[in-house]
Symmetry: D2
Subunit: 323 residues, 4 copies
């Protein structure tokens, strides 16, 4: 069940400290020009490097392993591989018995009966979102001229967050954030009533991204505090343009020709340097755990290109389904 999509279908694989991570894209149309350079911008935006991100630096060079011939997609399954290089696996082995709070150490062990790869979070790692960003590059090409832009609305509850970010780093703590995404150029009529609504599909892939704990469309949770007379978006013209954007561009699960708008809530990174109480399953009692591995103080800083990629994958699937 590691596949998303109906026509444009992505299947991802790999572990944080394994040799190779990758993604297969099935249903990619033939004839799309594609080079390694096309991936540079979005992969670069996702990379760590700025204040508040992990010291683990990876080259993140995409290997186009199948589905490409003479610079164009062929229509056959398109595979993109990445080699992991900067791995320090000794950091992680003890988390099998002493799971880190907030991480998938405990749940991964429960699910996979102790056979889970614990190194760097294994398959649960945010590192795997690299493959989503790669697939998103192709999805964006398919969607053009539809345009997807996401930006950070707030970090730690602030719209100007430099100071609290530096405090959090100094405190060995972490911060969450909210990212907003605007999508222009989606025509009216994409999506389905009920199970394949635009909201259902976008939320499905957005909640697949580690650390995301909330998704809202248009005025979202604020809508619950509005009256119908305030919330209803008045239709202005024959293209269906509305004065306000409370519906986030979606009525009855279907795009209405206005911009799609949604926001996601990103929890603070679970890895923090502050000692935390957890349970030692080997000796059967609570203990204090100090996490020393490399991590992002604020993963939200690196998430916008992942959000865009996820949205692009979901929408490219709709476009190929209808157009």
């Amino acid at each position: 069940m590691n596949t998303f999509g109906r026509i444009f279908r992505v299947s991802l694989f790999g572990e944080s400290h394994g040799s190779t991570i990758g993604i297969i894209i099935d249903g990619c149309p033939p004839g799309i020009p594609l080079t390694e350079e096309d991936f540079t911008a979005d992969l670069q935006r996702r990379k760590s490097g700025v204040t508040g991100t992990t010291p683990r630096i990876e080259e993140d060079r995409p290997i186009l392993a199948s589905g490409i011939f003479q610079g164009y997609t062929t229509g056959a399954p398109l595979t993109i591989l990445f080699q992991n290089q900067n791995t320090h696996s000794e950091d992680y082995s003890r988390f099998v018995s002493t799971p880190r709070p907030g991480h998938a150490d405990f749940t991964g062990n429960q699910k996979f009966k102790g056979f889970n790869d614990p190194r760097g979070g294994g398959h649960f790692s945010g590192r795997i979102t690299l493959t989503l960003v790669a697939a998103g590059v192709i999805a964006k090409k398919i969607l053009a001229p539809t345009n997807i832009q996401s930006s950070i609305l707030e970090i730690g509850g602030k719209t100007e967050w430099n100071k609290i970010l530096e405090e959090a780093i100094a405190d060995k703590d972490s911060l969450g954030g909210i990212v907003e995404c605007w999508i222009t150029g989606v025509p009216a009529g994409w999506g389905e009533p009920f199970f394949d609504s635009i909201e259902s599909n976008l939320a499905h892939i957005l909640f697949a991204i580690p650390a995301i704990k909330g998704v809202e469309f248009g005025s979202g949770f604020a809508a619950a505090r509005m009256k119908g007379s305030e919330h209803n978006d008045r239709i202005l013209n024959a293209e269906g343009k509305t004065v306000t954007q409370n519906a986030g561009g979606i009525n009855g699960g279907i795009s209405n020709g206005n911009d799609l708008i949604f926001r996601v809530a990103i929890k603070p990174t679970s890895s923090i340097g502050i000692p935390q109480q957890t349970f030692n399953f080997q000796i059967g009692k609570t203990e204090i755990l100090e996490v020393t591995g490399r991590h992002d103080a604020c993963i939200a800083l690196r998430i916008p290109p992942v959000i865009e990629a996820a949205a692009a994958i979901a929408l490219a699937d709709f476009k190929l389904l209808y157009c």
Copy 2:
């Protein structure tokens, strides 16, 4: 794409003012005792009748059309039908040219190229959620002793809402609300990393319910404003119980053995009696529309059993997948 689930698969159909609405459940295990009476409680909770709900009253008697023999499920596809009886279709025909703001009148016409059934919202109607509630009754039986309870947290932004609800009714306006759902008894280990996370699946089906515009797990959007040291749920014992519930019972997409907790934002009912500006596509200009059909002033009042049913359907699918 009107199907949800991998093992416990539901496919719904019907229109608000058509003769019959229904749901097929594929993958229902054999040997579950089932009678019409089993449906009474949840169908009754979804019914209108209290202040703020529609004057359209339907009998909502489930017809078990297949998959049942001598009072037990057989394992073959189980079909539940309902006959619509209280329909006033003359109310709706003009909304084809003059779509109601907030409704799917415009998007439905765009999508279905003018062949959409406009009567009572057609297939987009909240009436179809009746079939979800029916399927949820069976899903809850499969899930037992896992227990799902939802309740209204606020209506129109208030935790005591009688007064503003009566005001909204008097004003011919409508209100939204927030519903919270608690699920006890889900063992650790359900869900998958990435595309089949618990959050992805729950959000997928929740956003299929008309009027839902936001979904958050655990502390949700509030998590974005917390520090990691506040948000991380400390693990207390060998069952994985945690002191706090900020993760909503889910780490890495997988249940951690604590209660699952989520909240949904429900927009105010789009149908209001107040005259609204919209666009008349026939004559090509804006005009004032007065909606006189029957509707709920606050659909959130009737949504808790629908939320529970949706969650039950998604979780029964996980249970049958693993257990």
Copy 3:
């Protein structure tokens, strides 16, 4: 898993002696004119009545329960129901303990743990193919001008079979047969390499039809006895037309613009009036069983419209996927 298709998706339900059988079609395009009369010809071809078919006569009147408005498909899920009327359920109860050879009595009980509806074969009954024929009527409309024609090649190994059929009836025995299907007007380029080849999809749905035990494309099993120089179809012109049809119109899983040709092997009806040895699971020993229920001496006689419907459903799905 009672659903077939990716875009044009059919989900069927019902039992031979239940009240209602039916099919939901998801993904049917809007705007297709559709009336009850459109179903008459193919439903009539499937009906019993001629020599060698069952004395059970059903009206087989299709009820268009959803997805239709003012004579056109709406794009919402389209549901077709049939009421069973001519049922004699007392005939079947003893087959729970004493399964009929060749039938699904034993396997159904194993699978469904004794909760299976045994009446008339329950959900396993060939009666359910009525719903496939109904869905096929719509699929054929979508496919036009692509044309699907099937005919009986042989019954009981003979191309003129009247005499052996009357002998089999007189002997209370049954006969199998071979049906061939020719499909004209499929353009080159439908199908996918590997798992979604035309052959894979057609065979999938054909083997879903009770009694079918073999499927071959083009020269099929005879191809295994040919040389490459004999089997290769020489390409004649820019449309890809070939001199011979050994590939059955499919290369690499993809249509080549020639007619699609396949044949199916239909086993003799399992129900025969001749006493047969079987096992009585209640008393734990072999015993002689005499089957007295109503049945077809040669089900192959009624299968051509079912074959066509199955092929039409699979191909309509491809057409909607690509066109």
Copy 4:
């Protein structure tokens, strides 16, 4: 649509002359011991080398790129890669304009609008079946003690085929064949009525294998020439064992506890050294084509392990679904 399975899901990719081919297995249970050596036997059986097989020799060393940790499957997606090494791509470029009869050159170009990778058949190549065999190794481990054995029944219509094979090689011609597969140890109750019958699933994946043009279960096409009194398998004991195996171990789409038996027809290799007439799409007329690339005179010789792998993949999926 390059994925097969519901629980044990395989997605394959790659081209005959690309750098890498591979397969992702999703839904593989954790804790299965797995080493490179486990693949040796089946990969070796598929290899060329004996009389009548291609001179292209590849090392076929499996690279376990994800889903493995310390010698055991982890439960995360398991990826197996192979590097292509012995490629002569200059052989193939002219087949874009002058398609080889029997190959997917024409259909691939039609489907993929001229962007298809023509080298060695690209993604259509039988080389990709290497990845199926690799996935089959794991599927067989999951299925144990269920045992799958296939063998060649006939080549070119003969059960002793050395002489005609050498003649075909001398004539630069090719031969087809028939392979039979016996599967022991499948318990009664696997499979579903209708669309997920055992026959439907096995046939689906079998017809995904290049060169297979017919599939039959039990007595198959011969059943069409039998009487019911001959064909019905008499049940002998409480395990459901039958005297004969005409049903191939499947009734109503569900395993009956006897051996599963099926046969596949394999067409003669399309590549032959004899000059053949085809159409030159560039100059617009028929011409004589001489194919000089490396190929198998009889691909059927190498197909038994591919057949077994395909069957294992389909049945492992059923086992994980039910057990």
